[in-house]
Amino acid sequence: MIRLDSVKKGFNTGSLNEFIAVQDASLSIGERRITVLKGPSGSGKTTLLSLIGCMARPTSGRIFLRGTEGSIGSLTFDGMSEVEVTSLPERFLTEIRRRTFGFIFQQFNLVRGITALENVMLPAYPLGEKHGLTKARAVSILEHFGLEDRASARVEWLSGGETQRVAIARALMNDPPVIIADEPTAHLDSALSSELMDTFGRLKSEGKTVIIASHDPLVFESAAVDRVISVKDGRIEQAPSMDRACFEGEAPTARPREGMILAPMDAA
């Protein structure tokens, strides 16, 4: 579904404080599963996440996407073959991102000063959909999470758990097939954390793909998780124990090359 091929992401290249966040990363994310990128802070998993989610362009390497259908300008996706998204202009990347990914951030990152409902509707604003339709959809998502009576409350007045659910609702606004979460349990207690993992499990059963970056054991040891990828110092490590769920293994279109570190279970 999403495939990275020797991806490298560096900052301040060429200067003295050059910093390579991700080095030579190749992996393949399967559909309808929960994948966790595990690693300590500074390991590059957040950068990896942003690369997977089409939020950042790699310094070198390639990224492929499969499964979205439709067309953007001169580009067509037929939902079956892979499309390379590495060098697409920002306009296209953003459009793909809007349709494919929903993001949940570490600090939830809701816009302060406006209501929960408005926050949930924000991702749909640039699409030019009729306001009534957007609002109806947002309300129904909030109802799904039991927040219909908090919809018109300002986000500053929401409790931690409510904020968490609003953040998830926002991620689901454009009905994306993939949910990406960056350290979602960082500011939560264990009760809310397990509630969150339950929610992810539910989303998986509804057919969504979930990718989480976390160093919280509660997350990567959760039963709902299908696969854990270890990331350390910007590189993907060979994880020792990986045989949790049955994994059909999507066949990558490229054959493994010499010296390439692959996440396990990806061998053709």
């Binding site: 957040t46 950068t47 996440l49 942003s50 939020m55 950042a56 920002e90 306009r91 953003t94 991102r97 809007r98 993001f103 951030f105 570490q106 990152n109 809701l110 816009v111 302060r112 000063g113 406006i114 408005e118 924000l122 991702p123 604003y125 640039p126 699409l127 030019g128 959909e129 009729k130 306001h131 926002r170 454009n174 960056d182």
Partner: protein, 378 residues
């Protein structure tokens, strides 16, 4: 097309709520912006209204006035000149005018005494302008006394006071009968101050004026259009001076706008980062910033113009009237008739909104091109 409109509505919605959330910073900008528009609009409305007023007034003056010069100074005209001029082809009428100045030491002001063409006041009475009446505290029925050319006083009964509407030109005017005028100034019978000439074809004015100068070389024909042009030029020049002086304020305003736009708070930066992260494109954020600028501009523009309108047309531009009207001891109290054209509004738009928009262009772009993953890295 409908999508585009809907998208603009959504973005405007968010922009308005964003502006209201940062009231403090935006209010100060709004106030300065409004003052800038107000100042410029007042000056432009004022000079334009004065131009219109002047041209209206001048419409009532004779098409051509012929004056006699002696050693470069204004001299009285003998009636023979009038006969010569009426002989020129194309001239329909020549009328002698009687007018002069009188310096009143009591208030230190110059009055204009004039014999009107129609309905001159009866002997021994005068009609005075409102400004004069106010200054000397004389009203209908009172007596006014002036020192005539022979040093002896002449008294006149104030028969009437000129209407306040005409104050702009009549504040210092005294209308008097011909006999009273000649007696007061000692003007010998046939001589007049100058001649008012009417012609059949206005296009011929220049030719006739030339002929007059040729036949009567001591005379100076003054064509009304030239006067209008001169007034226009003076007010244009005055208006232009204000605008030029205004340029420094405009520059300061542009710098303020740039500064305000660049110094976006951490909160605003975070907001833009979130928008980019959840799927807003750079062009969407730029659009938001453009709308932000438009809303602030339009509000300030409207407020500034409305305030300027009332300032100039109800308050007679009390804030800068002194500089724009010129120096005089007798200040007429007058109400300018509202003359505001689309052209003035457009001009104001170009002088205020355009610099603001251009000044905020670069900061808007800078804040919009932040990376979508910036919120994740922070």
């Amino acid at each position: 097309m409908a999508r585009w409109i809907e998208k603009q509505r959504n973005i405007i919605d968010f922009t308005l709520s964003a502006l209201l959330r940062r009231k403090g910073k935006n209010i100060s900008l709004l106030v300065v912006y409004t003052i800038v528009v107000f100042t410029l609009a007042s000056a432009i409305f004022f000079t334009h209204a004065m131009k219109e007023e002047a041209s209206l007034i001048l419409r009532g003056t004779p098409e051509m006035v012929v004056q006699r010069l002696m050693a470069g100074r204004h001299e009285l005209i003998p009636p023979a000149y009038g006969r010569v001029i009426s002989g020129i082809r194309g001239v329909t009428a020549v009328e002698g005018r009687l007018w002069g100045y009188y310096y009143d030491p009591v208030v230190g002001a110059n009055y204009t005494l004039m014999v009107p063409r129609q309905a001159p006041p009866p002997e021994g009475s005068i009609v005075i302008g409102k400004g004069l009446s106010r200054q000397r505290q004389v009203y209908e029925g009172d007596m006014l006394s002036f020192r005539a050319h022979d040093g002896r006083p002449r008294s006149f009964v104030v028969q009437g006071i000129l209407s306040p509407e005409s104050e702009l030109v009549s504040a210092d005017l005294i209308l008097i009968s011909e006999k009273g005028f000649r007696d007061f100034f000692g003007l010998p019978r046939p001589y007049v101050t100058d001649l008012a000439v009417s012609v059949k074809n206005p296009q011929e004015l220049v030719t006739i004026a030339r002929k007059i100068s040729e036949i009567l070389p001591e005379t100076r024909p003054i064509i009304r259009d030239e006067m209008t042009r001169t007034y226009d030029a003076v007010f244009d020049w005055r208006g232009g001076m204000v605008v030029v002086l205004f340029m420094t304020s405009l520059l300061a305003f542009a710098i303020l706008a740039w500064d305000k736009a660049s110094g976006i708070s951490a909160e605003e930066r975070r907001e833009i980062g979130i928008l980019k992260a959840i799927g807003w494109e750079t062009s969407d954020v730029i659009l938001m910033k453009v709308w932000e600028g438009l809303v602030v501009s339009l509000l300030s523009f409207l407020l500034g113009i409305v305030f300027a309108y009332f300032h100039v047309f109800s308050g007679s531009a009390f804030l800068f009237a002194q500089a724009l009207k010129g120096w005089s001891t007798l200040y007429p109290v007058f109400r300018l008739a509202p003359f505001v054209g689309l052209a003035q509004v457009a001009l104001l738009f170009f002088l205020t909104v355009v610099p603001y928009t251009v000044a905020t262009m670069l900061p808007s772009w800078k804040s919009a091109v932040v990376d979508p993953d910036a919120v994740m890295r922070a």
